[in-house]
Symmetry: C2
Subunit: 314 residues, 2 copies
């Protein structure tokens, strides 16, 4: 073991943060000929036997006292557990098909609580015609956790990664941002319909869902695309009572963030308002060519609060 490995060995996951931990793990992951895009985007993209299609794979988990609490209604926790990976399908413009549920709960958990949780999982699945085809349960001497893995498909020419953004692209978000922990995070609707409409009608360069907050997620999109960004704070679509800072850093909005050529922006806005009159679509900035390894945003780091990142304090 060389000295550097030894130093690494003492670092805790909580100090490193999820992104940097994954950066260390991803390069060595085994791949095979079926992998189109492995870990690192919202879903993995692999071969599908179906002509003209690819398969999308995603797993996501909720942990008690991290993503929900005992006070939250089990139906809503179940809804959220299913809706989060479905939101990642929206982020790739894919169609989810099948889900596997892993439920890790203490032995003392009541069957009634589990049934209500499944009620929420099933409700979210049914809304998008997703079949729940597997259910594993395990006990734990500690907090509950629910992990949901989802498979689905996307047309070969239609999946959108985070990496296709170009300098001068306009940046848009759906819906309103901030204050999700007041309740939205337990009842949001994955933007699958909207995402499918977008890629059916416009060339979308880069797309993702806002799970950790604009402050974390926008830099990820810019970094993956190898560009910088400018954010128009004054334009941010705020939820009632929220400040721009909250819109940037609260997280759990589960809205779409995407980059599109400015020549398409006007037509997009016009057609969007006709198609989705109740859901705002807002231009919040643009991508630019100022890409740098340490600083991709036009707002100084000290002013740009981080979104929610696992293993870091809120």
């Amino acid at each position: 073991m060389n000295p550097r490995e030894s130093a690494d060995g003492r670092i805790r996951c909580g100090e490193l943060g999820e992104d940097r931990l994954l950066e260390q793990l991803l390069p060595s992951l085994p791949r095979n000929r079926g992998v189109v895009a492995g870990a690192g985007d919202d879903c993995a993209v692999v071969k599908s036997g179906e002509r003209g299609k690819l398969q999308l794979l995603k797993t996501d988990c909720l942990v008690e006292n991290i993503h929900f609490t005992k006070k939250d209604s089990p139906e809503r926790v179940g809804w959220k557990a299913m809706a989060r990976p479905l939101s990642d399908f929206a982020a790739m413009s894919g169609v989810p098909e099948f889900a596997l549920v892993t439920l890790i709960v203490p032995s003392r958990t009541t069957v009634a609580w589990v049934k209500k949780l499944y009620g929420g999982l099933e409700k979210a699945a049914r809304l998008f015609q997703v079949a729940i085809v597997g259910g594993e349960t395990s006990s734990i001497k500690g907090p509950a956790a629910i992990s949901v893995a989802v498979t689905g498909v996307v047309e070969k020419g239609r999946w959108v990664s985070r990496a296709g953004g170009k300098a001068n692209d306009d940046l848009f978000v759906t819906g309103r941002l901030g204050g999700s922990l007041r309740g939205h995070h337990l009842k949001f609707i994955p933007r699958i319909v909207e995402s499918r409409w977008l890629t059916e009608n416009f060339p979308i360069h880069a797309l993702m869902d806002l799970s950790d907050g604009l402050g974390s997620d926008l830099p990820r999109l810019a970094r993956a695309s190898g560009v910088g960004f400018e954010l128009d704070e004054a334009a941010l679509p705020l939820n009632t009572g929220c400040t721009p800072k909250q819109a940037i850093s609260d997280g759990e909005d589960y809205e779409l963030l995407f980059a599109i050529s400015p020549k398409d922006s006007r037509s997009l806005l016009t057609r969007w308002r006709k198609k989705f009159p109740k859901l705002p679509l807002t231009r919040i900035g643009r991508l630019n060519s100022k890409f740098g390894p340490s600083r991709t945003g036009s707002i100084r780091d000290s002013k740009f609060p981080k979104g929610y990142v696992h293993f870091q304090q809120r």
Copy 2:
């Protein structure tokens, strides 16, 4: 709410056990046209775009202090976390292709531990050419948990459920049983090669892997097939130092249990010994027609120790 529901509501998962909990949950799960066989067998079976093939889906998890302890080497825990769902592919005679890993660990977990865990996950995946295409991490204020979801394929005429056993079928197990917790449970090799060979060469009526122990798993196979069984305790292939009781109830053997017509048994044994000279194959009993809802085995309940069932004390 009727009185029965109300009574149900007070029951704890630990009192009900995993099988009966799943029985209550499965009927209401949403399905869609792509589902060939949903929850209840070793893997879910769904449509595949590929001509002549079906897709298999499986998820499985390990929880600290339930399935492993802090004293276990993280490489071996990682190996086990991947090998368990792969063993379910063996149980359906399928070929695993892609895996998603969900890692739930306390913030204080060292990066070195996580890297070693991934080393084990990767080693097991590479042995079967499985690509790890997604990695999610979350923190927890409690024990660690690792959930692995795997997708793969099987030829339409070749997947074997638990439900096809017929009265008079011979019952076979691979390898030796009992005492797995002495170490085997952290380093077993999923019997995918053996399972694929079996279905390539013989009509296998029913097949599963022994994860909870023969005492739990054989009644499951019999029940799914609508038949009874007779177990020849004296024939059980015992691991060194193990009693028949241990072979029946210890669990975590990850060997194959299957039913085959007695007319094929002699040829099977001859060819098996040539193909897999180091791995025993043993006839341990037969299926019979004495199926009953409360008693499927020929050994009285009081004498037939239960295998490992989640939510029940070991």
